[in-house]
């Protein structure tokens, strides 16, 4: 196999095709639209289903219908579109069927802008739709990783009868990088025992998310939690760079992690024993990694392209154990390696008190700088 120059949005779309996606439904929204455009000709050419829906409400419910047939199904969108999909995502989770969503995040809230952001961490990782449910959320930081994670996402979704979200930002969707596409998998020929795909030679089935009897709904919720606990135990992915001898760690996912790596390299060149920890699975969150690091390190810097949405999760496992700083760029701004580097320097030279709020300290500084 050889590497080709691929744009993120096209790369995940083709990775899904090669993973055997049977049906794609979407609605145009920047910075994700190239995926929809690409699949509008790629899917029919392969005899697979494609519809440009009337809205994201339409798209997610087309996914819901197709996923009920047990076929591999996906959609992609960007932040405002994903907000509109939340109803359908909750129903799909409640029906316990697999699907894949790619969210190419942009600046928000509201219509916001089309610049890259990590604005959707909370509403993707911690729900967004109503009820108790737990999507598996994966955050690649480059095109190759986006391809690989999308390629494996369908099997992961099927294994846990769960929603799998590939969470990238607009810069990963739009950037071009050399990457290698995997081989074309044959499409699935056997379908799950719950699929409502026509009752030829078997008793009729139904799929629904309604359960008027609360004790029954309780069992459903607990069953969903049980599958989630298995995913939590087995599906954590977290990448570490320069961490063997590190005394400090920068923690960031996706593009923020990628930019932070440059800052870490600079700091290393200056002799600072710092490494990068990049959670790839945001859900399940690398809890054990955080706990371990909180006991062994001298300090941690969390970097995000939002106001500190993942920070709250990091703090759950690390809070009272070591000095923690935060730097965030919300609203579609990508942090510069230089500002991360100077935050590393500050953490090392002037560590904040353990247990003090990293967000409050960051925000006080930002307010001063920006005259807020």
């Amino acid at each position: 196999m050889t590497k080709e120059l691929l744009k993120g949005n096209i790369a995940f779309a083709e990775a899904a095709v090669r993973a055997g996606v049977d049906a794609y439904f979407g609605y145009p929204i920047t910075p994700q639209t190239e995926a929809l455009e690409y699949l509008s000709h790629r899917m029919p050419a392969l005899g697979r289903a494609f519809v440009q829906a009337e809205s994201e409400l339409g798209a997610i419910n087309m996914v819901y219908g197709a996923a009920c047939t047990g076929r591999r199904t996906m959609t992609s969108s960007s932040s405002p579109g994903v907000s509109l999909m939340m109803e359908g995502l909750s129903y799909i989770a409640g029906t316990e069927i697999p699907m894949v969503l790619v969210d190419v995040m942009r600046g928000g809230p509201g219509l916001g802008n089309i610049a890259p952001a990590q604005s959707d961490y909370k509403h993707i990782v911690h729900g967004g739709g109503h009820g108790d449910y737990y999507p598996i959320v994966l955050a690649p930081a480059n095109i190759q990783e986006t391809i690989d994670l999308t390629y494996g996402a369908f099997e992961l979704a099927e294994k846990y009868r769960s929603i799998v979200v590939i969470l990238i930002d607009g810069s990963i969707g739009q950037m071009m990088e050399p990457a290698e596409l995997p081989p074309m998998k044959p499409r699935k020929k056997q379908f799950p025992e719950w699929a409502t795909d026509g009752c030829e030679g078997r008793p009729a089935r139904f799929l629904t998310s309604i359960s008027l009897d609360p004790p029954k709904q309780e069992i459903t919720n607990l069953r969903i939690l049980k599958r989630w606990q298995e995913a939590r135990a087995n599906e954590v992915i977290c990448k570490e760079y320069f961490m063997e001898d590190a005394r400090y760690a920068v923690v960031g996912f996706g593009t923020a992690g990628r930019v932070a790596l440059s800052a870490v390299r600079t700091a290393r060149a200056e002799g600072i024993p710092v490494g990068l920890v990049r959670p790839v699975s945001l859900h399940p969150f690398p809890e054990e990694v955080m706990k371990r690091l909180s006991k062994t390190l001298d300090g941690m810097l969390v970097v995000e392209m939002n106001n500190g949405q993942m920070l709250d999760d990091v703090l759950v496992y690390t809070k009272e154990s070591l000095p923690i700083s935060f730097i965030g760029r919300p609203g579609g701004v990508i942090p510069m390696a230089e500002e991360i580097y100077s935050s590393i320097q500050q953490l090392v030279n002037n560590p904040p008190p353990i247990g003090s709020s990293p967000r409050d300290r960051w925000f006080a500084k930002v307010c001063k700088e920006k005259g807020l």
Binding site: A53, L57, N61, M62, G65, A66, E200, F206, T208
Partner: protein, 260 residues
């Protein structure tokens, strides 16, 4: 269903195989049950039970999958046509139907039904128009008649503030993707027979791949209208039919030769 016949006996009436032997939860006198029966008979007569997938909606018919003996799913409020689209596009050889009330289809789900009709989605929609929100206890629906009293229009629907009812079939029939759109009523045996023919024609439309088909059925809600079962049927005839004329609003030319 196995029935042992004695000599000189013939079966003139029995439960369709597409219908499960389950008691329904519908109120006495509600015509949802009649609509179900028609649908089950048509699926049986066409021999497509094992090849049909239904999509239930949100409303009194939410549990309709308990009554039909073929595969079923259940959509969020208003989204059944989108779910049906997903199923049909994935399994084009299957017959796919939605069963929706008027609040579901003509209010919260107007976007999905319009999108499906405009795309000429090759699905069949059974649209129950009872001029009210049944399941939630009788609030005003988009189909509630001017002056009609409901729990959220207690002095009667005031068109000055609540606007006018939607004639959904007429509206959808303007779309080129719609192949068969008709309105029938369930208020008398004669109308019920006509309704069944229309349901059959809608499935024949789908069988021929002609595009979107919908049968709107004027239906009763004695409970929330506050009428006895029979009076509710009279109310359909005297009040609903004049506002919602029965008729064929779109019939694809390729259906001209189909005799049923």
């Amino acid at each position: 269903m196995e029935t042992t016949l004695n000599r000189n006996e013939t079966i003139v009436y029995q439960r369709p195989a597409s219908f499960r032997p389950a008691p329904t939860h519908y109120c006495p006198g509600c015509t949802h049950g009649i609509a179900h029966r028609l649908l089950a008979e048509v699926v049986d007569e066409m021999g497509i039970r094992e090849n049909t997938i239904g999509v239930a909606s949100v409303g009194c018919s939410v549990f309709t999958y308990h009554y039909f003996n073929f595969d079923f799913t259940q959509a969020p409020h208003g989204r059944a046509p989108a779910m049906a689209t997903g199923i049909k596009r994935t399994l084009p050889e299957r017959f796919v139907l939605t069963y929706q009330g008027d609040g579901d289809l003509a209010s919260i789900g107007m976007g999905e039904i319009t999108g499906a009709a405009a795309r000429g989605e090759n699905i069949t929609v059974i649209f129950i128009n009872n001029a009210i929100y049944g399941m939630t206890g009788g609030q005003m629906a988009p189909t509630t008649l001017p002056g009609q009293k409901t729990s959220s229009s207690q002095d009667g629907r005031d068109v000055k503030t609540a606007g006018y009812p939607i004639r959904t079939s007429e509206m959808l029939a303007t779309l080129d993707g719609a192949a068969y759109v008709v309105r029938r009523s369930l208020h008398s045996p004669k109308e019920i027979r006509r309704a069944k023919k229309a349901v059959r024609m809608a499935f024949e439309t789908q069988a021929r791949g002609l595009g979107f088909s919908m049968v709107e059925l004027l239906s009763s809600c004695p409970t929330n209208w506050g009428y006895e079962a029979n009076d509710a049927l009279t109310w359909i005839e005297e009040n609903m039919v004049p506002y919602y004329p029965l008729g064929d609003f779109k019939v694809h030319p390729a259906l001209a030769d189909v005799k049923i």
